[in-house]
Amino acid sequence: MDQNNSLPPYAQGLASPQGAMTPGIPIFSPMMPYGTGLTPQPIQNTNSLSILEEQQRQQQQQQQQQQQQQQQQQQQQQQQQQAVAAAAVQQSTSQQTTQGTSGQAPQLFHSQTLTTAPLPGTTPLYPSPVTPMTPITPATPASESSGIVPQLQNIVSTVNLGCKLDLKTIALRARNAEYNPKRFAAVIMRIREPRTTALIFSSGKMVCTGAKSEEQSRLAARKYARVVQKLGFPAKFLDFKIQNMVGSCDVKFPIRLEGLVLTHQQFSSYEPELFPGLIYRMIKPRIVLLIFVSGKVVLTGAKVRAEIYEAFENIYPILKGFRKTT
């Protein structure tokens, strides 16, 4: 029952909007459509050439941002910059930063502080132009991670039992099996500990889903193999492989999905008519994230746990950047 397509078929089409008319009130003020590079990289890029290019580009926008910044903030930034610049940036750039008056300060820190700390007393009426999200994200010190760890919710793994199976026999002699050949050509078997479900095919291949960790998935797959063994088949345990891992977490603040889709067009897909969340396809690591307005994030498509953690650490600074735009 689809209630969303609420218009009679011709209602929308025939009342043509006369494209020349522009709305009096910009509901969506155009943000800077920006998004380059493959990945949002929060790790510091120590390539001085790219940092120099970055500085040149940002200097063009210096004036705009100087007006917005107060002196005190700039001083704080310079102290921070000098501390980190001395540690990691090469000679040429560090010279520039130490010489730095406010005009010379590299963009690296501006983009971060601007998006997370607007001036007190002014609330942006419209989504303020977010500073460009560059692939070379500011030099965040290693300790400034999000502090949130995604929880694994589901692991899908496959294993080859190495022998042909008679599904009718399995369904007959196992208590926890269901088999409906007209509906699906596999036996669906469940065990209680770890709480998982397995699809067992007649070729001897098996898919195990529902575990909350890699070890649990492996243990569950072994238990299924043992059940099949006890039913009289020469089952082995070959090529166990984790195929997919799903994790979820909560950043605990609301996210302006319309803004995120504008600045990260080539990675995001946000269709509120179809799905309430934004689908973010990260390229490195290759993970798909579902981002919701409540701040909950679902990460899927990982083969190893580290990919989920890495993906979340990549997305967290981007999401933080959309915290203040109300």
């Binding site: 209602a11 009130i25 509901i27 609330t123 070890e215 509120p272 919701f292 203040k324």
Partner: protein, 419 residues
């Protein structure tokens, strides 16, 4: 023929090359004896040397547009005409369809999918020109399911690598509002319900913008919000006569379908307006409720920016701005009336402290979270006890019972029905 050898039978030198169908033969013209035969079959290398034309090249199927594609292109043009789109849209949509058709996955797809693809191309074209066409409208026109449409839409956007902008809310408001049949009196629309289009449009736009600012639009289908905003705008322009009209009746009058979520959007919007009203002294004393606040929507919208700032504190703030007492009078001044603290405002009555500006899903009480599973120290290589596995196996008695039950069921279902 001289130099070709002699016939072994009669010794004549008159040998003629005479092929028997595809087999080349050397025949003696005197006695008819076959001297030599060519090979009947050709080898792979021989065939490689033959200049044959492949079937697909001979029929020219790659140069022509297939009939199915032609039908699809015709459908695209028809759809553009039905929707009364500008002519340039037609060409763009046709180009997208042709571009999609070059992919083998689309060429081999079912007809239903190709039909929906027509709608997708038109929708993408409209989106790129900020023409407010909703997916629901396209699905209704194509008699397609929204989930089928959505899967093909996502697939084609990914396949063609397109950048499709979001639905333009302002344009959608204008188009949708204009479709309400309330701007002229008619047998079904009494005179007191007729409204001026421009006034209603501008007020609806302001309400939708307010909804957007207060997190009522993000993540939700845009149309029900606009329906609720249109209804409120219409009511507030003449509240005395129109407060008695319900949302459902309003949509029926206006000859527009009522989307199911519109009533809850309406409640959310009214809650926001009530919070804003509490920041205005002359409204605070009136103790407004969801019905009476409609009369004051005009004022609230006029000062909406400052009222929202006062009424809500930023739900995302790290350091929450502690509510310094907002001024007792509203930001704007009504003609001839100065809201003043001394105008009998009882002592101790102050505006409500700012509520958190959060999306409604975050304001609901959190679901009781089941306690996180204890961190299990499973290694995956533990011993699996036999007893644990035995519990999943049927005893022989159970197996016999099960088989008997199955047989009985088979017998029952296979009994032919009496004529």
């Amino acid at each position: 023929m001289p130099g070709r050898g002699r016939c072994p039978d009669c010794g004549s030198t008159e040998l003629v090359e005479d092929s028997h169908y595809s087999q080349s033969q050397l025949v003696c013209s005197d006695c008819g004896c076959v001297v030599t035969e060519g090979v009947l079959t050709t080898t792979f290398s021989d065939e490689g040397n033959l200049r044959e034309v492949t079937y697909s090249r001979s029929t020219g199927e790659n140069e022509q547009i297939s009939r199915s594609q032609q039908r699809g292109l015709r459908r695209v043009r028809d759809l553009c005409r039905v929707l009364q789109l500008p002519p340039t849209f037609e060409d763009t949509a046709v180009a997208y369809y042709q571009q999609a058709y070059r992919h083998s996955g689309i060429r081999a797809a079912r007809l239903q999918k190709k039909e929906v693809l027509v709608g997708c191309c038109v929708l993408i074209t409209c989106r790129q020109h900020n023409w407010p066409l909703t997916m629901g409208a396209i699905c209704t026109l194509l008699y397609a399911d929204l989930d089928v449409f959505s899967s093909i839409y996502m697939q084609i956007v990914k396949l063609l690598g397109l950048d499709v902008p979001s639905l333009c809310l302002a344009e959608l408001v204008k188009t949708y509002c204009s479709s309400f049949k309330l701007f002229q009196a008619s047998p079904s629309v009494p005179a007191k319900y007729v409204e001026d289009k421009e006034k209603m449009l501008s007020r609806t736009l302001q309400l939708v913008e307010l909804a957007n600012e207060t997190w009522l639009v993000t993540g939700r289908h845009p149309l029900p919000v606009i329906t609720a905003a249109t209804f409120l705008a219409w009511q507030s322009l003449q509240p005395a006569d129109r407060l008695s009209c319900s949302l459902a009746r309003f949509c029926k009058l206006a000859n527009v379908d009522l989307p199911y979520p519109a009533s809850s959007r309406l409640q959310e919007l009214l809650a926001v307006l009530l919070r804003m009203a509490e920041q205005l002294a002359w409204l605070r004393v009136l103790r407004l409720d969801k019905r009476s606040v409609v009369k004051h929507i005009g004022d609230l919208l006029q000062h909406r920016h400052s009222l929202v700032r006062l009424a809500f504190r930023d739900g995302t703030a790290e350091v929450e701005t502690r509510g310094k007492e907002p001024p007792a009078w509203g930001q704007g001044q009504r003609e001839g009336e100065v809201g003043n603290n001394s105008l009998g405002l009882p002592q101790g009555k102050r505006p409500a402290s700012p509520a958190l500006l959060l999306p409604p899903c975050m304001l609901k009480p959190p679901k009781p979270i089941c306690p996180a599973p204890p961190v299990s120290t499973v290694t995956g290589d533990e011993n699996i006890s036999d007893s644990e596995i035995e519990q999943y196996l049927r005893t022989p008695q159970e197996v016999r019972d099960f088989q008997r039950a199955q047989a009985a069921r088979q017998a029952a279902t296979s009994v032919p029905n009496p004529p």
